[in-house]
């Protein structure tokens, strides 16, 4: 395991060195990545300054939801990039190369195509979350919920990209776009309170893929609003469990896929 981690760091730093070959372009791209809040959060700011609130959520509260989910998702994109594009590796037969090495396959895949600029996305998510916490004057218990929500989100999104990657063992990669709907689409959906969505969609992201547990329930707990929103007071405590469950499912699915894998041979 420790060897695997060391290999992960080496692969990641090799990726960083490669990207540093275009230093000016890398710095600019990172700055621009940090500015993604202009197009993500800008419209929310426009609408909430015009209408005042969205279903009782002020701009600062909406920014908290956005900051939490975009931190989680960016951390997964930074740390597990290889799983996002896994189907392409599988099709090119590159998985065989990784299988030959006596190190954790999961960690090796995670480090593939490491993109250092994603750190700027993590930073922008965290900056938004911190500013929202300050604006909302959250106490220590609430801050703990925010941190727990971000951590849970990492587990949940990690599980989703792993499930997406595992599906590629069976479908040879035609499903990449659908995985994007769950990850990019999911994090976009979670930038708003789950309560605004129509019934079937709300149920799908609460009981189906438990995305609502990523930031909505922890945020409700942080704002002391769980019961007011019509949920049992203890429900947010299920968040870590639900998110860890998705990751466990992802890891198990990936192991099954690996066991099933037969190289095409070439």
């Amino acid at each position: 395991m420790l060897d695997g981690l060391r290999l992960y760091l080496r692969l990641a730093s090799a990726g960083l060195r490669a990207q540093m070959q275009y230093r000016g372009a890398f710095v600019l791209r990172s700055i621009v990545d940090f500015g993604v809040m202009i197009s993500d959060l800008g419209p929310v700011w426009v609408l909430s300054s015009y209408f005042g609130h969205l279903d009782g959520w002020s701009f600062a509260e909406l920014a908290l939801l956005y900051g939490m989910v975009s931190s989680s998702w960016a951390l997964v994109e930074l740390g597990l990039r290889g799983f996002e594009n896994f189907s392409a590796y599988l099709l090119r037969g590159e998985l065989d190369k990784l299988l030959l090495r006596p190190r954790s396959v999961v960690l090796q895949i995670a480090a593939l195509e490491f993109e250092a600029r994603k750190a700027a996305r993590v930073a922008q998510g965290l900056v938004v979350a911190v500013l929202a916490c300050i604006a909302l004057r959250l106490g220590p218990a609430s801050l703990a919920w925010v941190v727990a929500g971000i951590a849970g989100g990492v587990l949940c999104f990690a599980g989703i990209v792993m499930i997406g990657a595992s599906v590629a063992f069976w479908t040879s990669g035609e499903t990449a776009e659908l995985q994007n709907t769950l990850t990019y689409g999911g994090s976009a959906a979670l930038s708003y309170p789950v309560s605004i969505y129509t019934n079937w969609f709300r149920r799908a992201i609460t009981y189906g893929v438990p995305l609502a547990f990523v930031n909505y329930f922890p945020a409700l707990a942080a704002l002391g609003r769980t019961e007011a929103a019509g949920w049992p007071r203890a429900l947010p405590w299920l968040s870590p469990l639900a998110c860890a469950g998705v990751l466990a499912l992802g890891l198990a699915a990936f192991q099954r896929g690996l066991r099933r894998y037969e190289s095409a041979g070439s």
Binding site: Y22, G24, A25, L28, R29, S30, I31, V32, D33, G35, V36, I38, S39, G42, P43, V46, L47, S48, S49, Y50, F51, G52, H53, L54, D55, E174, E177, L178, N180, T181, G185, A188, A189, Y192, I196, Y197, T198, F201
Partner: protein, 267 residues
């Protein structure tokens, strides 16, 4: 006529390049429809507090967003990361362009129109149809709707200029990914991709009216949704015409300067 022929070819090839990826186009419809549904619910959620705002009803806002989401690919708000001018410069493929008697910017415009043609007959009606099936909103039939195709063509021309300007950064330092992403982000906000500019706070709206980005989206989409008439409509179209010229001038200047920077690497 002979001078136009190569550009017609470029437009046709761009059309065919898009048509080649059937599966990706089908899943793209699903992704667009997902975001359409998602953001429509956000708009409806905000409007629940107030029936009509700035003369827009919730139905107007959703119709506007349906049109915006349907036309994203046709107008070209998202770049082709793998095949663009910047990548041709980086890989050295640009040398092939240079031996042809073809202007790079004119080629970009031609390719944008070819791409737009493909998405206008496939993606746009499919996504709008899904939105219509869910919400049942259609554009009001008014004479201003006749100006929509004109405005759409102007939008595509401005977008071509923006992409060309962003990609030409590669002439100076081989990569333009940062510039390209900056155009995506700034254009999406100041173009009103999600929220009509009418709702923007005063100083931001002034800024948006001066910048080129509203020409790529807000003007044609608001015309489609029946929310532009009279003086604002005239201003919108004039703004578009001015920026088509402005972007063409900027792009031509960048093309001339950039080409002087090119040094081919043999091999």
């Amino acid at each position: 006529m002979g001078a136009v022929r190569p550009y017609l070819q470029f437009a046709r090839l761009a059309f065919q390049r898009r048509a080649a990826y059937r599966m990706a186009n089908a899943t793209g419809v699903v992704v667009n429809a997902f975001f359409l549904m998602l953001h429509a619910q956000v708009l409806l959620g905000f409007f629940r507090a107030r029936g009509i705002a700035e003369g827009w009803s919730a139905a107007d806002a959703v119709l506007y967003f349906m049109a915006s989401e349907s036309l994203l690919l046709a107008i070209g708000l998202f770049p082709d990361w793998n095949y663009n001018l910047a990548e041709r410069v980086r890989t050295g493929e640009i040398i092939v362009d240079l031996v042809r008697p073809v202007r790079l910017y004119a080629r970009e415009v031609a390719e944008r129109f070819g791409t737009a043609g493909y998405y206008l007959v496939t993606r746009a009606p499919a996504v709008f149809g899904i939105g219509w099936a869910i919400y049942g909103f259609v554009p009001p039939l008014r004479w201003e709707l006749l100006l929509f195709p004109v405005s759409l063509a102007l939008a595509i021309a401005v977008m071509a200029g923006l992409w060309f300007a962003a990609c030409s950064a590669a002439f100076w330092r081989e990569r333009a990914n940062g510039e390209i992403l900056a155009v995506v982000i700034v254009n999406s906000f100041f173009g009103g991709a999600f929220v009509p500019l009418d709702f923007y706070p005063e100083p931001v709206r002034w800024l948006a009216n001066a910048l080129p980005f509203r020409a790529t989206l807000y003007t044609p989409v608001a015309i489609f949704a029946g929310k532009l008439s009279g003086t604002p409509l005239a201003f919108g179209l004039l703004h578009q015409v001015v920026w088509v010229g402005g972007m063409a001038a900027l792009a031509s200047m960048l093309e001339a300067r950039g080409l002087r920077r090119i040094a081919a690497v043999g091999g």
